[in-house]
């Protein structure tokens, strides 16, 4: 550990033996660029809301998976590390699922009746 911390000025780094062949980074970059362009195309097509959201989310996740698998080398790491990396997705999905009852049982400003009640509460004088 002390040896590693010592500065070695002028010593050029030596090549290290790679366990796995290097991915084709340029190909991954081209795929990412194409997917970004596709996102813009989908956006400017002005599709109905549900299919547009589904397509955009799918494209975004495809890009995220490409970055994680090839740029962050998850594809060549041990599977346990990939499982650890996937944990946040599961937890956030669980959080979104648990937020749903809050949204459905307590409408904030989503119904006209709620808006009317709120407006009346603000305008009527307090007794």
């Amino acid at each position: 550990m002390a040896q590693e911390a010592t500065a070695r000025h002028g010593d050029a780094p030596t090549p290290i033996a790679m366990d796995h062949p290097e991915p084709n980074y340029l190909a991954v970059f081209i795929y990412l660029t194409i997917l970004t362009a596709l996102e813009l195309v989908v956006y400017y097509m002005h599709l109905p809301k549900t299919p547009m959201i589904a397509l955009l989310v799918a494209l975004a996740w495809a890009k995220a998976v490409l970055v994680a698998m090839y740029f962050m080398h998850l594809a060549t790491e041990k599977r346990t590390l990939a499982v650890i990396a996937v944990v946040p997705i599961l937890l956030v999905s669980f959080a979104c699922f648990m937020l749903l009852p809050d949204l459905t049982s307590r409408p904030w400003a989503s119904t006209p009746m709620h808006q009317q009640v709120t407006a009346e509460a603000h305008t009527s004088p307090e007794e």
Partner: protein
């Protein structure tokens, strides 16, 4: 190489020989992954909260009416380019090519600075000309919080990569240099990954 041989070659002194390392030869990489997992949960919770607030509010403005989609798409492209240059820099140092490391790491830092500059321009337009601030509305509060938090991460990444670049230029090689660049690369790609999701959920949807 067998599992036992791998443990033999990479295990630090005093390590239990029955323990299997998740990242043999680079324990710092595991530390960075654990940090990124926690950070991903923070960003995930922030984006989930943004979604929950947006779904529950019919008065949410259409993002394209206020935000510049094309400019932000270019910012996304810049970050993707910087991810490519980061892996090229790592590839260079793994093959002992110092010149390639310096060139591509400099381009990565430049990409980060361009992204931050464009985000500063976007914020200036929104605050100065649109009159938005963090207390104007739920939309502006969530927008500035999310993009600001991400921008802080980009700034940190620029400083991180800049430090490694400065050391490389000075010829300062503290021990395991390829491992250091690999760990920094993980952070930078994570920042890019999060922006891909923010661009989709905040700007496009």
């Amino acid at each position: 190489m067998s599992e036992a041989a791998a443990i033999e070659s990479h295990a630090p002194a005093g390590m239990d020989r029955t323990e299997v390392q998740l990242t043999p030869g680079n324990t710092g990489k595991l530390g960075m992954w654990i940090f990124l997992v926690g950070d991903a949960m923070t960003f995930g919770a922030a984006i989930a909260a943004y979604g929950a607030l947006r779904i529950g509010n019919v008065n949410w403005p259409r993002p394209a009416d206020i935000l510049g989609i094309d400019t932000t798409a270019f910012m996304t492209f810049v970050l993707i380019c910087s991810s490519l240059t980061m892996v090229k820099a790592l590839s260079g140092i793994q093959h002992g090519n110092v010149a390639q490391l310096k060139k591509y790491l400099a381009l990565t830092v430049l990409g980060g600075l361009i992204f931050l500059g464009m985000q500063a321009y976007e914020w200036t337009m929104l605050i100065g000309y649109e009159g938005l601030s963090i207390k104007t509305s739920l939309f502006s509060a969530t927008f500035f919080a999310l993009t600001g938090f991400h921008g802080m991460h980009v700034f940190g990444g620029v400083c991180y990569n800049g430090t490694i670049l400065a050391n490389a230029i000075r010829g300062y090689w503290p021990g395991a240099n390829a491992k250091i660049v690999e760990i920094a690369g993980l952070y930078w790609h994570f920042v890019d990954l999060v922006w891909i999701l923010i661009f989709t959920f905040v700007y496009l949807i």
